[in-house]
Amino acid sequence: MLKQPRKNAIPSIPALITFFLLSSCNPFSPTGDLKTFRVNLGTEPPSLDWSLATDHASFNVIANLMVGLTEFDKNLKPAAVIAKSWDILEGGRRIIFHLRDDVLWSDGKKVQAQDFEYSWKRLLNPKTASEYAYILFDILNAEEYNQGKIDSPELVGVKASDDRTLEVHLKHPVSYFLSITTFEVTYPQRQDVIEKYGSKWTEPGNIVTNGPFLLSSWKHENEIQLTANPDFFLGKPAIDKVEMFMINEKTTALAMYEQGRIDFIDNQSIPIFEKPRMAKLPGFKAVPQLRGYYYGFVTDRRPFDDVRVRKAFSMAIDRSVFPKILHGGERPATSWIPPSMQAQNPKIGLNYNPPEARRLLREAGYPDGKGFPQVTLAYNTLEDHKTVAEAVQGMWKRNLGVLVRLENQEWKVYLKKLKTDPPHIYRSGWGADYPDPDNFMKLFTSLSGNNDTRWKNPRYDQLLESAAREFDEKRRIRLYNEAQRILCEIDVPIMPLFTTTEHTVLNPRFTGLEFNSMARLFLREVRPASR
């Protein structure tokens, strides 16, 4: 039971440490071969079932296993994949997709229109309890089916009229519907496979896919392995194997990259203070994201029921500070629709103007912040949020003479609190589900579940409704411009702060990786860099 005790154990330990310290040789330098590509996924994907997945880790695996009707081209416009063409009929109420007939499932069967019909109805089926079911609520009867108001899936407006044709009936014209078909949750599924294996159908060996890679192993909490699909209809990828690791801690993941054990890292694997250093590495690329970061005012709580106070607070923030303290190439924003999205307009919004901010505050009855009630700014616990909150707190103190109390809460407590006992000001953000302004602007409509400002403006709602049905680009932009002015200049229920950027570093031995502005990772073009 006892180890033989050694008397000289004590002096040997300092000796050992000294030995370690003095030695500077590096006995191994791990480098993978050029046929295997290794990335850090960050976390275990909660689900590879694309009807149930909700997070980046899961979608980043699925995006390399599957293809759908359409995908984004370089300009974020939907481009044909399985759908070779489509007809938009009845002023946008009906869409008919014509499918290619050379796309194969990994078990050799052809991908058919019925696979889409099954998948979409499964997403909407209340028994599936899918969180993203609402993404298809524009389809006729879809919402009613999901709510259990109608029982028969037959009444839902999606139907395979034959193997190669998918017909979709919408409730009303929807200008952004094609964008939705790029989203992983709308990818086709195999009824026979899902019914055969139940909830285990996503395990390797059971899962049937149609994309560039195949799921060959899934060691939970540890590693996912993909192998190239030789029968992929656009050709077999150049690399044979992909290894996806689940390393939560950024410092650890970065150390792995620097040891040559990972070939690609993004913000998930780069601590904020290391970002400036990363920007100097070969293979570095900054990818601006369709993700906005904002502070919202709870507009029915004093003193923020006064629009002058809201304006003053927004004007007292020097947004150029954020890239300096967050080091990640954040782009300051005074308006809400992010850059490179339709209708983005940097001219809209309240600029940094401390004298004007002080004047507004004085007008509202708080000269130099005197008599200003105790107010709270809440954010959820995360290093970046803390840094932003402390910086903003400092600027308000300096420019307005108001000391705002900071309160940070664990994520779920925070979400609960926003609904039940909201602070005066809260932090939030939004990343695009699909790259259309509708997805961003809809957040602040009167009925939106994400609108924690409690601000309502019928004109704003009406503008958004018209824009969603508008197919003409110029008219659409005009509608969104007016809506953005209401949101960021006139009523100011929110103050946009910045949009985020992903820092990515690709091992220079490889090329061809695509990382898009919605943080989606595509590996199918990855190949060894030619020397």
Binding site: T54, N222, I247, M256
Partner: protein
Amino acid sequence: MARFLLTRLLHGLAVIWVVITLTFVFMRLAPGGPFDRERRLPPEVLANIAAKYHLDEPWLKQYGRYLLGIARGDLGPSYKYVDRGVSDIVTETFPVSALLGVLALGFAVAFSFPLAISAAYYRNSWTDRSCLFLATLGVSLPHFILGALLIWLFSLQLGWLQPGRWEDLTSTVLPTITLGAAPAAYLSYLLRSSLVESLEEDYVRTARAKGLKEATVLFKHALNNSLIPTLTVLGPLSAALITGSFVVEYIFAIPGMGRFFITAVTDRDYPMIMGVTLVYTGLLVSANFFVDLLYSIVDPRIKSH
């Protein structure tokens, strides 16, 4: 003897039951639910999810459902990892944590015994002081600082060991040391003080007077008698180590169970919280049970207590 063991066993089961009940209540009292998301779900979607997981039932019914599940050996579905059951997750991750725990425990024992023995033997000498210092150092470092130090030195500066993942023998070195340092220090303290005590007992003096070899006196007489207090703490200590340490598993990206003590709570993954609690308490109770068993063999008087 049999009766004593039976009462201990029943007692242990009762403890487990009370602990899971308490956890159930605490968990439900914590604000926020498993499906509160940044993207707020429409009420109808939430209702479908609640129905799927029986979250729309009253607490008492959910509690009853859970107990029935345990009786059948089913720990329920995970709300986060929707395709997997809690039992699956525990069976996959527990062995990793257990291995790490055993390695750390082994490290602690291998490290503390020589340290404590030489310290106690050369009491109040330079050796003793430096041993005490080393041990105090060990309990004074938070895991994350020790881990950071080790990664910085051995992975980044020297490039000898990999900073993360659980693949082969070399990848186990840094996490084992990080997790084992505190128990090593703790065991050294404990063993040293009980050895110091035994070395002053009469029978040790007698043994020495009889002219027995120093080594025999030290290892056979004194050490044997000092093992009992060490034995007592080994039970809870191994339970704590084997269920893993969140921080260590997190820093070194080890696919173990420890991380769920935190992530299950932050995700409000109720069945997962219950699952890890059950495993932890079960392990602790059985560890204590075995300590009792060993005790009653070593020292028959105890069973009357």
